[in-house]
Symmetry: C2
Subunit: 312 residues, 2 copies
């Protein structure tokens, strides 16, 4: 049976899957990335995982992979802050030499975007954005039917656009970046701001910053807590305005929302769509920009996109 | 001699030029657009202008045109706020029937962008932006070697991105749009804000809002007027931050600045580049994003781009 191998390298774990041309995952496994000593240790575990997954009956036709800090032109992983790697790891070369197969590497955000494009909510679209609302805000952009990467592959940084001058400090060094408001962490920061600026009682007031997660806020909101619901409403307000700006730049057929925060459903989508409609330019009013949840499991988009590198 | 006819339709005047394949303008003329009664009157003047320009010795190989509110797919001009036209004007069809030549119509901002791309400051680049800083802020974007227009041709609206939440009212209905700060009008609004919020003496205080133009502020700044120089500095501050965001989205090889305000030179460029460097993401610091003035006469970019539609 002809199958592609998809690899999704993350800071916590690395996932492997065998995927057919229709985007069906026939087998999968994973191993810890963070427990690896260095890239040699990583490759040893990767090779072992592949051997176990592939077995004897599979004909592997190619390997696709997504990783943070991927240099797509070079096939290398460079200066990855959250991987236990040397500054430059020859990913494609190492796998090509071992398996004598085509190997392609893309940035993790692009892998998820390819997954949504070929097998998910954005199937066949020429213009769309994928926003991944997790700890931070990841983004992939397809414009004119091509991935948008910029001159050196550093484009599409939706998480690091200034949505509030002199706003919240961001890990990137700028102030007021989108992801300081619109992400699981941004939601928590908004909850803390609301605890500071309002007098509303809330069970969230019993939790420390370190102890609180977006899930606490989600559960409080579901229980009717005013402050928690307001934190979601304010997050949606900023997200909707950011989506209106994305529409003004890219006029996508759809904007796909994925990641943990997107799974909050109406709590996030209702204020977001309301804000988008208010902020949209005239020709985008009337809900012209589709905002849709991902059609893929959060863990599957990158794997399927990696496989799409082989099949498409 | 084989030549292309370029047409640049503006609210004030319509410009015509004969242009060879190397981008040299061999003849030009213009007529008033605003004095026309309707599109029939416009076409009469256009046909007369073409007849006079082309004469007997020219072999016209095609016609390219740029116009506001152009529907590029349909070859029509639709709901143009500043043209004396019916809601829908069949531009390409009318010219094709009369001249039996290939006719192409693009949005005015895209015409200028094509001009800079094929004959100007962005020659051969795969990723760049053109910003036209006039009464408003126009924009054209080339990404992955293609014009970026979005799903229905309404993308690339750099003038209507929110750079200041709850900021200045914009003609588009939004608040805080880039062009309310970064344009000839935006510069004037900043000067008026500074007159309201500071006590600095300035010759600008003798002018009404209606009487003042960006040129007054430019000349006052050249004479050393503090308030006028501060108006330019604040304009550059917002523009630089906006350019950092454009770099984060598109990572262009260059951003080309054209239009009247861009001709203010160092008064605008020095604070803009300083702000861009401060706001840029880590991989764009060190002046990685080239910000360059247009290499074409302000009136020529759109004409040359229109001709490029014929030649390229």
């Amino acid at each position: 049976m002809q199958l592609a191998l998809g690899i999704d390298i993350g800071g916590t774990s690395t996932k492997l899957a065998l995927i057919d041309a229709a985007g069906h995952i026939t087998a999968r496994s994973s191993f810890s990335t963070s427990d690896r000593a260095d890239e040699h240790d990583f490759f040893r575990h990767l090779f072992a995982g592949i051997a176990e997954l592939v077995g004897d009956s599979v004909e592997l036709v190619g390997i696709g992979a997504g990783a943070p800090s991927a240099n797509e032109q070079q096939g290398t992983i460079e200066n990855a802050a959250n991987l236990p790697f040397s500054p430059k790891v020859e990913f494609c070369k190492t796998l090509r030499e071992r398996y004598n197969l085509p190997v392609t590497l893309v940035k993790d955000s692009n892998a998820s975007t390819l997954g949504e494009w070929h097998f998910g909510a954005a199937k066949g679209m020429k213009n769309f954005l994928l926003l991944t609302l997790g700890t931070g805000l990841g983004c992939g952009i397809v414009a004119n039917g091509m991935l948008l990467g910029g001159e050196y592959g550093h484009g599409g940084e939706a998480g690091h656009i200034c949505v509030q001058p002199h706003g919240r400090a961001c890990g990137c060094g700028r102030l007021g970046c989108t992801e300081t408001y619109v992400s699981a962490t941004g939601l928590k920061r908004t909850a803390f701001e609301l605890m500071a600026t309002t007098m509303h009682d809330s069970p969230l007031r019993s939790l420390s910053y370190d102890a609180m997660s977006a899930r606490h806020i989600y559960e409080a909101a579901l229980s009717g807590d005013f402050l928690a619901k307001k934190a979601f409403a304010e997050t949606g307000e900023v997200l909707g305005r950011a989506l209106a700006d994305m529409a003004a730049w890219f006029e996508p057929a759809a904007i796909v929302l994925s990641g943990g925060l997107a799974m909050a459903g109406d709590l996030l989508f209702v204020p977001t769509l309301d804000s988008l409609e208010r902020h949209a330019l005239a020709f985008h009013k009337g809900h012209k920009i589709n905002v849709i949840p991902s059609a893929l499991g959060e863990n599957d988009a990158a794997l399927l996109g990696a496989a799409a590198l082989v099949w498409k």
